[in-house]
Amino acid sequence: MRSRRVLITGLSTYWGGRLAQALEQDPEIETVIGIDRRPPKLALERTEFVQVSDAHSLIRRIVDAAEIDTIVDTRLVVDSIVTSRTRAHENNVIGTMNVLAAAGGPSSPVRKLVFKSSARYYGSEQDDPAFFTEKMRRPHAPGTPIERDICEAEANVSDFRHKNPETTVTVLRFANALGPDLKTSWQSYLHLPVIPTILGFDPRVQFIHEDDMANCLEHAVKYDLDGTFNCAADGVLVLSEVVDLLGKTMVPVLPPWGTAPAAQALRRAGVPIQSEMLPSLRFGRALDNRRYKATGFVYQHTTRETVLRLREQQRLEPILRGAVGTSYRYESAVEEFLRFSPSVRQSNVRPAPLPPANSAPGERSEHEQLEAPAPAPSTTAYGSLPAREILTILPSLSHEDLRALREHEVHHAARATVLRGIDQLLGAPVTSAR
């Protein structure tokens, strides 16, 4: 099934925003609607934003009204530094329930559900396998509230899968993400000038780069991937290796016994070590990422490269002083100008996107790619605009664009005012040339 009308929950999370940006570039996708409790932080072109409450109770109405065929659920809180415990629970458990309720049932237009989960689902224990595959379940009951939430949400999703066999359900379990725009517990832990560790332990860790994370979600929207998949970069490092790559020093200040109270004392002193990180600092965790790679997905960064990127970012930080990541590339006034000013030629605004490295499931070759969409005008954006606004934009367009737009207008809305406006403009230069 080809997704055309997409609803993204958790638009204001980093990956939700990134996914929306990616989907906007795809001319096949008619509508992108994003919901969250706070306004999005990333620059979005044609995504419509709707503000909702924690519990996401009114999604069904949005889904029905907009005839959504694909829901991408990126809303799950998997990190306790993001929000308070009660809000996280409300969002993770009640929110998931409501999203699933909106997606399910015989009358629902939804045909695909992409659910972002976390590798925290597997936990981190002494008798874990060295690589978790998708078919494994966690060997012990979850210990922290966040992990309990994740397990409960996943249980609900798997329930949903059984009750709605017609719907494609993709569950993506992400490893800990690192990247310049993220705020996660691992990120702030690795930002410390020296890295506190548990004495006598050197756990195996695996990360995923934020770009890969957004690409993973996009890949799941583009292709029908039914099932559960692990998403983690290639390569598993040991913590000492990570610290080495970052050019920092390990300080084994946490005792092997009585770690939790010691970590709490450190937390009091302002060192960001979340309690749910302690098992992974002791035993570590690694995922078997091969099944998602087998669907044609190609990771851009290995775990090692992800850590090296983090190091570059940490070096830049004192120079940029807080203006982290892409935020300095975005100024809303400039963006507004580029989007709406009649003086702007839309074909010049955005550089041509790079061809994607991922391929459809089944075709292995990485280079036989679809041609990158030409930087031609994306006519779909105009279709949703009222005629009055289109008329104001028309003078800024080149001749080819106008012809393409006319073509589009004839086949779709065929608004007489718009057609007349285009015809006038197409005629005008010719007369003036005479």
């Binding site: 494994m136 006598g200 050197d202 039914d226 099932g227 598993v236 092997p256």
Partner: protein
């Protein structure tokens, strides 16, 4: 009593924490059976071959994805292991040609000694004597992953927690050599008076693991390790107190402290690799489903090793000089 301590240490109330290496291997099936809820609708019942999707090796790294470190392993290999192999135990190796030069293979050996010297000696034997030296992955108890210090060291020198999924990945996907001790803890706990009498071979889980991976099983008989570190008694109370896996009384432990655990007596080691037992020509599509067959093969292998041990012991003139 070992059980209770381990569970209180972990503060985890599992139905039984007394699961040794081999019982874990037997659980491979449970792991697979757990597919139902997660991906019940997966069309492909048969696992696709994911071998080509294994992560490529990053040459800049010195540590593998399993946490094995070339540097640390090399250091130990050049110093301690080399000393014990060549000078202290004066290892003598027979039948090294039975270890395949390529492809996965499961090595199965008898097990003894409180801090067993047999595993590193077998690994060293393959490195020294084999025409194509290959790294050997040693399966170790999960206990070591939870004990500070050891959890850092053991993976670096080639130890892998004895989990069925780990063994399968190494054998089938990565085509490596894996060494298991089906006797598990029952082997290393046994006292000196029971020397060279093989314990139960778990539940035959190692045979299942080899069958699933279609890897041959290479039995190994090893003489000398029982005398290198004889265990005279096991102290339950001290084991509880220290949280160690067991607390043996040996000639040097505990009165020489933790270093006493390395104080082996200079017994003569003889390692005999026996002809491999293939597991891919049994004429059955999924031989691991046939418990009777699995048990028969496990029993055969145990009997082979036991016979071989008795043969070697019968010919041995001296414990110290061979």
């Amino acid at each position: 009593m070992a059980d209770t301590t381990r569970s209180t240490l972990r503060q985890e109330t599992r139905e039984s924490s007394r699961i040794d290496d081999d019982d874990r291997l037997a659980m491979v099936d449970n792991g697979r059976a757990g597919t139902g809820s997660a991906s019940g609708r997966d069309v492909a019942e048969r696992e696709p071959d994911l071998r080509e999707y294994l992560a490529p090796i990053e040459t800049e790294r010195q540590v593998t994805d399993w946490g094995r470190s070339e540097r640390v392993e090399g250091f130990f290999d050049k110093t301690l292991v080399d000393f014990y192999y060549n000078l202290w135990f004066r290892c003598e190796v027979e039948g090294i040609e039975h270890v395949p030069a390529e492809g996965g293979a499961l090595l199965v050996s008898n097990h003894s000694g409180a801090l067993p010297p047999d595993a590193p000696m077998i690994a060293k034997a393959i490195k020294e004597e084999h025409p194509q030296p290959r790294p050997l992955h040693l399966t170790v108890e999960h206990f070591f992953k939870g004990y500070p210090g050891l959890s850092m060291l053991i993976p670096k020198i080639g130890g892998v927690p004895a989990h069925p999924a780990n063994v399968h990945r190494l054998l089938a996907d990565e085509q490596q050599l894996v060494l298991v001790f089906p006797e598990g803890r029952k082997g290393t706990e046994k006292l000196y008076k029971d020397r060279y009498r093989l314990r139960r071979f778990g539940r035959g889980g190692f045979v299942e693991a080899a069958m699933r991976a279609r890897a041959p099983i290479v039995p190994i008989a090893l003489v000398g390790a029982e005398e290198a570190m004889p265990v005279f008694a096991q102290l339950g109370a001290l084991q509880k107190l220290t949280g160690l896996i067991y607390f043996p009384i040996t000639p040097t432990f505990p009165h020489f402290g933790l270093f006493g655990a390395l104080g082996y007596l200079p017994a003569k080691f003889k390692i005999r690799f026996l002809p491999p037992v293939p597991t891919d020509d049994l004429g059955v599509e999924e031989p691991w489903e046939d418990q009777a067959l699995v048990q028969t093969i496990a029993h055969d292998i145990r009997a082979t090793i036991q016979d071989e041990l008795l043969d070697m012991l019968g010919k041995r003139r001296s414990v110290w000089f061979g």
